[in-house]
């Protein structure tokens, strides 16, 4: 109660309100631009925060993070391009709904789910930051490895009808993750003498290539066959019946988003994929997933917006930035001489409670600004396809260049686009590739560190209780999915496979 009262006292500070609104607007714009990740959007603001008061500066940066997490879903739904890594799972059903002429409803579901997710995440941040952060503090390398395996176990259900193709796609992602510096010894791997590859390949380049560039290449390969959505949708929020249907998926997103958010290194991408997977598992309409299911948008959007708040738990409580975005936020704290950690609440309580108030204002601002900016996005869908695709190509090339200001990155993105093009032609799912790419470093680095700690004794993964629990959960996920495949193969009528 004391936390709520202290937070409320900052709610009418116009400095905080202005910073929250500006941050969330900037974040939506940055998140909606493919290639501009939430951390880049925040980093671009960092120089402006030098002259601001500490609370306003932190609120501005944190609100940008929230806006960017929501903004990433807009291009995911409209142009099959996740604006942020965490929006990758939204592409699956969001773009399918767009193709069915339901772009307005898809965007409305995304906005409402983002609102629910953010509000729930803020409540979790305020109420549970201490106890949950204690759990995160107990995470060992073995537990992080098991967390990565749990994330990878989702692949079994993202593989569609051919499990082998799903595993191949995942290994491709894991392979790409091995490029760069070795996580334990620091030696170079698969860099072929290129200094640009020393730091590895940014997941956003591969994701933009796999999703956006491959889509442009596929459309170019079908010259004359315009599959454009010709309807002119309006923003549409779910009715009461649909709201009730979405509720369980949103609860799943909230739960997974909270759990993943407090684990440094886990992040919104894993949370959104896991939430998508679990929403499908528990849905009354699992057959609609992948074909334009509203729950397929609600679950990942709720999850990644929940993570946007709960990811602040380890940062505020222990000073551990668990992601690029929270590392930027840590930079914002340090600029003003504030060190996050156990003493933060005592020494700079006004910043913490001001941050909570700012986040609350930013979530309200996200709905308002998201609502105001959506018509512009929907208008874009109805532009003639050659012009729209030409502009999208220019946009993604510009966005990718802006990450490091190097044309080398554009080559990486195009190569990923070619990979995605052939994967789609050969009917390989490329979502497992994205998951393998995102989790590859986490899995390898912690697996090898664990073995170093144990002197190559694999029992260390069993002896660690958290690791054992997570590995058992992963085993259940995989066994369940394989069991379902076997059941479908032997006891269900064969499906008719149609040419696309």
């Amino acid at each position: 109660m004391e936390t709520i009262a202290l937070t409320a006292s900052y709610l009418f500070d116009w400095h905080i309100l202005l910073a929250a609104l500006a941050g969330v607007t900037w974040g939506i714009m940055g998140g909606a631009l493919p290639g501009i990740s939430p951390s880049i959007t925040m980093a671009l603001l960092l120089p402006f925060t030098y002259t601001m008061d500490p609370t306003g500066a932190i609120v501005l940066l944190a609100s940008t993070y929230i806006g960017a997490e929501y903004g990433g879903s807009v291009p995911a739904i409209l142009i099959r391009t996740p604006g942020t890594n965490a929006a990758a799972a939204t592409v699956i059903d969001g773009y399918e709904m767009n193709k069915q002429g339901k772009a307005g409803l898809a965007l409305g579901i995304s906005l409402i789910s983002g609102f629910y997710g953010s509000m729930f995440g803020l409540a979790m941040l305020m109420a549970l930051s201490g106890p949950l952060a204690l759990v995160a503090l107990n995470f060992t390398p073995m537990a992080y490895f098991a967390l990565g395996i749990l994330g990878l176990s989702v692949i079994a259900t993202l593989s569609g009808e051919n499990l082998i193709k799903g595993f191949i796609a995942a290994i491709l992602g894991l392979m790409i993750a091995t490029i760069g510096s070795d996580p334990v010894t620091g030696g170079t791997r698969f860099t072929f003498g290129s200094s640009e590859l020393l730091g590895g390949i940014e997941p956003v380049m591969i994701m933009v290539g796999l999703f956006a560039m491959s889509e442009l290449l596929i459309q170019a390969s079908k010259r004359g066959a315009d599959e454009r959505v010709t309807s002119r949708p309006r923003i549409q929020f779910p009715d009461w019946k649909l709201t009730k249907r979405l509720f369980p998926a949103q609860m799943i997103g909230n739960g997974i988003g909270t759990f993943e958010g407090v684990m440094p290194g886990a992040g919104g991408t894993i949370a959104s994929f896991m939430a998508y997977n679990e929403a499908r598992r528990w849905s009354k309409h699992p057959e609609e997933f992948g074909k334009g299911s509203p729950e397929g948008i609600a679950a990942p959007e709720t999850a990644n917006n929940t993570v946007a708040e709960t990811a602040l738990v380890p940062l505020l409580s222990f000073g551990i930035p668990g992601s690029n975005s929270t590392a930027i936020l840590l930079g914002g704290f340090l600029i003003h001489g504030i060190v996050p950690g156990p003493m933060l609440f005592e020494r700079s309580g006004e910043v913490v409670y001001g941050l909570y108030a700012g986040l609350f204002a930013a979530i309200i601002g996200m709905v308002i600004m998201g609502f105001l900016m959506l018509p512009v996005c929907i208008w874009l869908v109805n532009r003639p396809r050659p012009y729209l695709n030409a502009f999208i190509l220019a946009l993604i090339l510009s966005g990718i260049y802006s990450i490091h200001n190097e044309t080398f990155d554009l080559g990486i993105m195009l190569a990923a686009g070619v990979l995605g093009f052939f994967m789609r032609m050969l009917r390989f799912p490329f979502l497992p590739t994205v998951l393998g790419l995102v989790l590859g470093y986490l899995v390898e680095s912690n697996f090898r560190r664990s073995l170093v700690l144990s002197g190559d004794d694999f029992m260390i993964f069993i002896d660690d209780r958290i690791s054992l629990s997570l590995l058992l959960l992963a085993f259940l996920f995989i066994a369940g999915s394989i069991g379902k495949h076997v059941y479908d193969a032997f006891f269900r009528k064969p499906k008719t496979v149609s040419e696309s």
Partner: protein, 163 residues
């Protein structure tokens, strides 16, 4: 008769084999842990080769089960994809052309050329509207990335003009 699974399986084996070749070239140091930098990459490579082989076998078995003895050979599902790949390659060439010229010509001009060329390639007729979209799109992207976000795009030959 080529099926998608057969082509995909062969491609997987080739990628896995090339990756394995380079994985075995990784230098070993006395400071390495027992698994070393090449440990997991080798596992990934062998897994890819193994899974690719399973996919090829699946495709061959499915083909033999689908085609009864003495039946007329049917057209493969992979046949006729060459034209599609060629069309897609055209767009890829345009994108590579942009990468090639952007640092010399400058962002503003090259992004305008990219929009116009891509739209023409994708079927838009040459018109005043196309030119307007090219110029307007270039100015919008320049304003967004350079003026608003402060990204340092290549100025190229426009550097003397401050663009």
């Amino acid at each position: 008769m080529l099926t998608r699974d057969f082509v995909g399986g062969v491609a997987t084996i080739v990628i896995g084999a090339v990756y394995l070749y380079f994985a075995y070239q990784l230098r070993v140091s006395a400071l390495d842990d027992s698994m070393g930098p090449g440990g997991l990459p080798r596992i990934y490579g062998w897994l890819l080769v193994g899974l690719g082989s399973i996919l090829v076998i699946q495709a061959l078995v499915a083909r033999s089960l689908a085609a009864p003895a003495g039946a007329e050979p049917v057209k493969g599902e992979w046949d006729g994809q060459g034209r599609k790949i060629a069309y897609a390659a055209g767009l890829l060439v345009i994108a590579m052309g942009y990468i090639f010229i952007v640092e010399t010509v400058g962002y503003l001009v090259s992004v305008g050329l990219l929009i116009v060329t891509t739209a023409l390639y994708l079927g838009a007729g040459f018109s005043g509207r196309l030119l307007a979209i090219g110029i307007g799109g270039a100015v919008f992207l320049y304003a967004m990335f350079v003026s608003l976000l402060g990204v340092r795009m290549p100025a190229g030959m426009l550097a003397p003009l401050g663009l």
